[in-house]
Symmetry: C4
Subunit: 218 residues, 4 copies
C-alpha cells in the first residue's frame, strides 16, 4: 500500500502535466479574424491557411500522447521512488510542458522562409531529443542495479527495455540533426516513430505477466 502510493502520486502528478500540456495545444490556434486578413479572403480560405497550425497540433498531440503512454508503461516497472527520481521526473516534465512552445513556433514558421522553417524545425526536434534524453536518464537511474524497479524482474527483460530506451534517445538525436538538413523529413520521422508505438512490443506478454506476479507475491 505504502509502496503503491509512493510512485502513485508521481504518476498522478505527471498525468496531470501530460493532460494539460496536450490539451493546451489547441489554445495556440487562434480563430481567424477576417478583418485582419487581405480583403476578399473567405472564411474557408482563411481556415485552409491555418494548415501549419493544424499539422503542428496533430504531430504534437500524437507525440505527447505516445510519451505519456511510454511513461505510463515504464512506471509499471518502477516501484519505489527517491528524491533523485522525483527530481529527474520534474526535469523530464519540464521538457514535456515546454512542447507547446516549439509547437507554436512550428505552426507560425512552417510556411515562412527556408531559414525560419529550419530554425523552427530544429528547435522542435531538439525539444523532443532533450525530452527523450531525460526520459532515458530517469530510466537508467531507476533500473541500474534494480535500484527502484521490481526486484523480481527478469534481468534480460530489464536489459531489453534499457536497450529500447537508449535506441529511442539515439533516434531522436538523429532526427534532431536531420532537422538542420531537411525539416519535412525530420517531422515525417517524428510521426513515423510515434506510429511505431502501435506495434506490440516484442515480449510484451512476458513483461505484463512478470510485474503482476511480483505483486501477487507481496
Amino acid at each position: 500500500m505504502g509502496r503503491e502510493n509512493e510512485t502513485g502520486r508521481i504518476e498522478a502528478f505527471s498525468d496531470g502535466v501530460f493532460a494539460i500540456a496536450i490539451t493546451l495545444l489547441i489554445i495556440e490556434i487562434g480563430v481567424p479574424h477576417l478583418e485582419d486578413e487581405p480583403p476578399g479572403t473567405t472564411l474557408p480560405a482563411a481556415l485552409v491557411g491555418l494548415w501549419p497550425s493544424f499539422l503542428a497540433y496533430v504531430i504534437s498531440f500524437l507525440q505527447i500522447g505516445v510519451i505519456w503512454a511510454n511513461h505510463h508503461n515504464r512506471f509499471r516497472f518502477i516501484e519505489r521512488s527517491d528524491h533523485v527520481l522525483l527530481f529527474l521526473n520534474i526535469l523530464f516534465l519540464m521538457c514535456v510542458a515546454f512542447i507547446p512552445f516549439p509547437t507554436a513556433l512550428l505552426a507560425e514558421y512552417l510556411d515562412g522562409t527556408a531559414a525560419e522553417r529550419e530554425t523552427a524545425g530544429v528547435i522542435y526536434a531538439g525539444t523532443l531529443a532533450v525530452t527523450a534524453f531525460f526520459f532515458t536518464l530517469l530510466w537508467l537511474y531507476a533500473a541500474a542495479n534494480r535500484r527502484l524497479v521490481d526486484r523480481n524482474l527478469d534481468p534480460s527483460v530489464l536489459r531489453a527495455m534499457t536497450r529500447r530506451y537508449l535506441l529511442g534517445a539515439v533516434a531522436y538525436l538523429l532526427i534532431f540533426l536531420l532537422a538542420f538538413v531537411n525539416v519535412a523529413a525530420s517531422l515525417a520521422l517524428i510521426v513515423a516513430l510515434a506510429l511505431l508505438f502501435v506495434l506490440p512490443e516484442p515480449g510484451e506478454g512476458t513483461r505484463k505477466v512478470s510485474p503482476a506476479r511480483a505483486r501477487e507475491r507481496r
Copy 2:
C-alpha cells in the same frame, strides 16, 4: 488489481483531458472592452452582444460533458488494454481536445454572414462527427470477439451497446450533413442529442449488474 490499473490510468488521463478541454472553453470568451466598442455602448449591451459566445459555451460544455459520461460508462466494460486501444484513445482525445477551436469559431461567426455561419456550423458539427467516429472505432476494436471487454458480459448486451454507438455515429453524420443546409437546426439537434443522455438507458439495470457480478467472481 493489475487489471484495474491497466485501464485505470487511461481513464485518469482521459478524464484530465476532458476536464481541461471543458474548462478551457471559458477562456475563449473575452471580457468586452468598452473602448473598443462603438461609442455609447453600455456594458450590459456589450455583454448581450456576446450571446453567440455564451451559446457556444453552453452547447460545447454539454457536449463534452456527455461525451465524458459516455466514455466513463464505456470504460466500465473495457477491462484490458493494449497499444492499439491506447492509440485509438489518443486519436479520440485529439478530437475532444480540438473542440474548443470550432467552439470559438462558432462564437465568432454565429452572427456573421450566412456563408460564415455555415462554415462555422459545418466545422463544428464535423468535429463532433469525427469524434463520434473514433469513439465508435475504439468500442468496435475493444468489443470485437470480446477482445478487451469483460468476458462474462452477456453477448446480447454487448450487441445492444454496439448498435447504440453505431446509431450515435450515424446520427452525428446526419447532423453534420444538415449543417450544410441549416446551421440552427443542426445545433438544435446536437443539444437534443445531449439532453437525450438524461433518459435512463434501456436495460441500464441489467448492464450495471452484470459487470459488478463479473467483478465479484474474480
Copy 3:
C-alpha cells in the same frame, strides 16, 4: 468497490474542473506593459493599479475553493449515481467553470463607473447564486427518499444537511439582489460566507462517523 467507483470518477472529473477553473484565474491578470501606460508610470504604480484584478483573484479563489470543499463533503454521502445526477453535476460544473469570466469582468470594471461596477457585481453575484441553485438541486435529487445517499444515514442528519444547503442558496440569492444596490457590501458578504466555512459544522463528528460505519457494514 463497484459502488465506490461509481461516484469516484464523478468526483475525479469534478476535481479536475475545480482545479483548472481555480488555477485559470491567474491568467486573466496580464502583466502591466509600461509602454501602454501613461508616460512616467513606474512599475510599482502600474502594479498597484491592478488592485481590482488581485482582489477579484482572491475572492474567486476562496469562493471556488470553498465550493470544492462543499462538493467534496457532499459526495462523501452520495454513494450511487445515475444519469440525472451526472447531468445535474455537469450543469453545476458549467457554472463553476464559468466563474473566471465574471471574475475577469469584476477585475476590469471594479474601478469603472458606478453603472459598470453594478453590472459586473450583479453578474458576479448572479453566477454564484445560479451555482448555489444547481448545487442545491443536485443535493435535493440525491437526498429525496435517500435516492442516491447512504441508506443507513440518520434522517435527522439528512434533513439538517438539506436545510443547510437551502439556506445557502437563499443567502446567495439575497447577496445577488444586494449587488443591485451595493456591490461592495455584496462582495463583502461573499467573502464572509466563504470564511464561515472554517467553522466546524454543527454535528460534524456525528456525520463523519455514520458513513464510516455504513461502509464497515458493507
Copy 4:
C-alpha cells in the same frame, strides 16, 4: 479507508492545481513575431532575446516542482483533515497558483531598468516567501499536539520536520529581503534551495518506515 480518503481528495485536488500552475507557465512565453521586431531581426536572434522568459520558466518550474514534492512528502504524515486544514491548504494553493504572474513579471522586466528588475525580483521572491509561510502554517496546525498527523509518529522526528519547515520559511524570508539589494543573487539562492531538495533528507529511512509501521498497526 475512510481516513485514507479524507486527505486523499485534498492531495488529488492540490496535485491538480500544482500540475496546472506548472504547465501554464509555458503559455506566458509568446512565440516571437518577426514583423513586430526591429527590421532585420532573424528568428534565432529573436529567440535568444527571449532568454528572460526561458530563465523564468526554468526557475519557476523547478520551484513549483519542488513545492509539489514537499507537499506530497508532508501529506504522507497528515492523516486526518478538518475545515481549518482545508482552508489553510486553499490559502497555500492560492499562492502556488499565483506564481505564474510573478514569473511573467520576471520574464518581462529581467532585462528592464535596474528599478524594474528590482520590483520584479522582489515580487517574485516575496510570492515564494508568502507561499513558504502558508506551507509552514499548515504544517504547524497539523503537527501541534499531533492534531492531524499519525499519532504513532516519533516526537523527535516530528520536531525535526517542524524545525526544517521553519528553517525553510526563514530562508525564503531572507531571500526576499536580499531581492531588494541584489536580484541575481536572490534568484541564484532560489535555484540553489530547489536543488538542495535532491539531497536525501537526514533520517529519511527512519521516517519512511515509521508511518508504514503505523499503518500496519491499524
